[in-house]
Subunit: 108 residues, 2 copies
DNA sequence: GATATATTCAACTATATGGTTGTAAAAGAA
DNA sequence: TTCTTTTACAACCATATAGTTGAATATATC
């Protein structure tokens, strides 16, 4: 098998692998926020948080619009939907396994 | 916000962020396989593939059982279900957004 | 016992990641 | 204009990741 590349999925899962970034996404479900307010509750430097935003942005998980000096960041759930679709295949597989297990018990 | 840690989720998403590892999971839906046969289609050294298996294992995405000299690896979809549950929150959010958008169009 | 197979371990390399600090720039407020 | 706020850029550091190679170990097979 030559591994079918999916750089988009790589970046999405990579972005989700960090708890600070997941926290940011959680915050953004309350609506658009600028980087400062995203940074504030995370105990790290502003620049650290800013880097996390860039990672999320490159994964397509957030988008930003610039209003004067503040950068407003909003969640873009479409990328998450993409991750979800990838996982769906396996949850289907999981359900099949569960069904098979049940059938085995029923046979006894 | 003090980021609520979830090392399990960290490891799961981290493991999924690599295309070779995702390919391995895909292969394992056909059933248990030993490391050699997982390694074969990936163009990398055996040891490279073996490391990937260890990453998947530590994320709880696969388990192995040793039968003599071969290590049989099987998928463990439970961890994937965990990732799926995390994503579910956002797909719900996504659907709400879609509904709101539809409502806006309807009003016009 | 000798050989082949499947795997791990150890050491190493290159690059990525997550974080820092200091400096600069742009925009709003005084 | 000056001061403050919000952000980016550059350089740096420590650690992790993805990969390699060579040697060792355990189990089958001849």
């Amino acid at each position: 098998m030559v591994v079918k590349e999916s750089p988009a999925l790589d970046r999405i899962f990579q972005a989700l692998a960090n708890p600070s970034r997941r926290a940011m996404l959680r915050m953004l479900t309350d609506g658009e926020q600028n980087i400062s307010s995203l940074a504030e509750p995370l105990q790290m430097s502003f620049e650290g948080a800013s880097k996390h935003v860039r990672v999320l942005e490159q994964a397509g998980l957030v988008a930003r619009r610039v209003r004067g000096r503040v950068h407003l960041v909003r969640i873009r759930p479409m990328a998450l939907v993409q991750a979800n679709e990838w996982l769906e295949f396996y949850t289907r597989f999981w359900n099949q396994q569960m069904d098979a297990l049940e059938a085995m018990f029923d046979e006894e």
